[in-house]
């Protein structure tokens, strides 16, 4: 493979080449980071340690992040809120979405409300939920719920509605009742798309929870980051960032794993 071939338009390189490219980019970022934060004394550094820590400081900060700052408890608190709030969003959004996608009159009725829900800025949901639910766990759960439910609903309805008419026609000429069409055709064929929505929205919900925790919380990853900033411990802040990133990746990998098992007939798993 020549260098010219590597830069050809839209030609997909082999997996090792792609991985090498990704690793090289990470190495470059680390190198720049290391260079900008290196120096024997704080004054000798291009970026002062009070502004941004060096890679080694972040690594050395990990043990105390776990022991002193209760990282594990923070992860548990954040995940718990996401599971509750997002779980509630699925419980409400998916059945309603199925109904709205199957019965077009109900879909039309829900359309403006759904649009309103999806256009509320997340930032606006913070004061709103604080106003409505006070400070505490309920507010965080409801924040996640309100931020994700309209999207879960909308995407589910769209997945159901976009099942092609020819499948419905076929089922009916094979003697399917309306209930059969809904269960065996509409839901069955839309399920992979609904699952893909759940996977994407879960990732977004996991990102959103930090927002609520930064504003007000007694525990959670967002809380740890805010405290780190206030106490002047940037190495904990940055280390938490890496933990969040790894966690998000791990959870998504779990979703992908189940996606492969659940829908072997779909090849587009990424």
């Amino acid at each position: 493979m020549t260098a010219r071939h590597l830069f050809a338009l839209r030609v997909v390189p082999s997996l090792p080449v792609r991985q090498a490219a990704g690793s090289a980019a990470i190495a470059a970022v680390l190198l720049v980071w290391w260079f900008l934060t290196s120096g024997v004394t704080p004054e000798a550094r291009t970026i002062s340690p009070s502004v941004f820590p060096s890679p080694m400081e972040v690594i050395r900060g990990f043990p105390s992040l776990v022991t002193d700052r209760n990282l594990i408890g923070g992860i548990a608190a954040s995940l718990n809120r996401v599971f509750l709030g997002f779980g509630l969003a699925l419980l409400v959004g998916i059945p309603l979405g199925i109904v709205a996608g199957s019965f077009r009159l109900i879909g039309a009725a829900a359309q403006p409300i759904s649009l309103f829900g999806r256009t509320i800025p997340v930032a606006a949901l913070l004061p709103l939920t604080l106003q409505m639910f006070g400070i505490g766990e309920l507010q965080k759960v409801m924040f996640i719920f309100l931020a994700t439910a309209p999207f879960v609903f909308h995407d589910t309805a769209r997945a159901i509605a976009s099942v092609h008419d020819r499948y419905v026609d076929t089922a009916q000429t094979l003697g399917a009742s309306s209930a059969d069409v809904m269960a065996k055709v509409l839901i069955a064929l839309a399920l992979p798309d609904i699952y893909a929505t759940i996977r994407t929205m879960f990732g977004i919900a996991f990102g959103y929870i930090m927002l609520a925790e930064v504003v007000d919380a007694k525990a959670g990853l967002g809380f740890i980051m805010l405290q780190s900033q206030r106490r002047g411990m940037p190495e904990h802040l940055v280390a938490t960032l890496f933990v969040i990133s790894a966690l998000a990746y791990g959870l998504d990998a779990l979703f992908r794993f189940f996606q492969r098992g659940l829908f072997p007939y779909r090849e587009d798993h990424d």
Binding site: R166, A171, T173, S177, L189, P192, F263
Partner: protein, 279 residues
């Protein structure tokens, strides 16, 4: 639909399998696809007809099939009556099977479960319907051991249409509606599918309506031909053709067969020319 209330005449002869009486269809936009289509296909025990339907594109062939099936938005007709076995068509049902040109296998079901779909809707038990489905996999020329557990995306176009045929025939429909079912297949596969259709339609004793753009296919498979005029479509000619009693590949090369094909082609070309002159 004024004649809904009139009871069928009391007589010993069974009602026609399909009867169109001055059927017209004007779509919501105001476009009239078919006008005053009238025909009868009689129920003659032991002689199940295959009706080939030819006509220029857009003349309403699919509209006619979907009216028989009871599928919206073609159903209900704007005027006239559509009757199947003496009863006005009210909605789709398994007594009128449909094979579409588009591949309509359910992606989430294996070949076996696709074929068992209708039986499942009837409430047949899992073991029983699986056994029947496997019988039909073999009947349509697929390999039970190799293909039963495959998903549609692993099948070729010809195999998918075999599945579609099996899925319909397993329900023993009285009428089979086929809308260019072999249109996307290569010629060799097409011959094989024509032979398969003829033998299986005889086996399940079904009346078949086959819409096709291939004159050879219509003349070969059909016992009878309907030739439609330009839109708004109406039946211009009905003619009988020799029954398909030899393999497609053999019969479609015979001189007597080709004579009929040329005769039909002249009629069809005549229709298309008149359309060209009109516009």
């Amino acid at each position: 639909m004024t004649s809904d209330a009139t009871p069928p005449p009391a007589s010993a002869t069974p009602p026609p399998v399909v009867k169109f009486d001055r059927v017209s269809k004007t779509y919501d936009g105001g476009y009239t696809a078919i006008r005053d289509v009238t025909f009868e296909v009689d129920d003659v025990p032991g002689h199940m007809e295959i009706v080939g339907i030819l006509g220029p594109s857009g003349c309403g062939k699919s509209t006619v099939l979907r009216l028989i099936a009871g599928l919206t938005p073609q159903h209900p007709a704007t005027s006239g009556t559509v009757e199947v076995m003496g009863k006005p068509v009210a909605m789709p049902g398994a007594d009128r099977g449909f094979v579409f040109q588009d591949y309509t296998s359910f992606d989430n079901r294996t070949v076996q479960d696709n074929i068992a779909f209708g039986l499942e809707c009837r409430g047949m038990g899992s073991a029983e319907r699986t056994a029947l489905a496997r019988e039909w996999i073999a009947k349509v020329g697929l390999d039970v051991d190799r293909d039963a557990e495959k998903y549609p995306h692993e099948l070729s176009g010809g195999m998918r249409q075999r599945v579609a045929l099996a899925r319909t025939l397993i329900l023993k429909p009285r009428v089979i509606l086929m809308d260019e079912p072999f249109g996307a297949l290569d010629p060799g596969t097409r011959y094989a599918m024509q032979d398969l259709l003829v033998s299986l339609a005889r086996e399940v004793q079904a009346t078949v309506f086959l819409v096709t753009h291939s004159i050879e296919e219509a003349v070969y498979v059909g016992d009878r031909l309907f030739i439609f005029s330009n839109a708004p479509g109406t039946i211009l000619r009905q003619m009988s053709t020799p029954p398909p009693d030899r393999p497609a590949r053999v019969m479609q090369r015979e001189a007597s067969f080709l004579d009929i094909v040329f005769e039909v082609r002249d009629i069809v070309d005549g229709i298309e020319e008149s359309a060209g002159a009109a516009t």
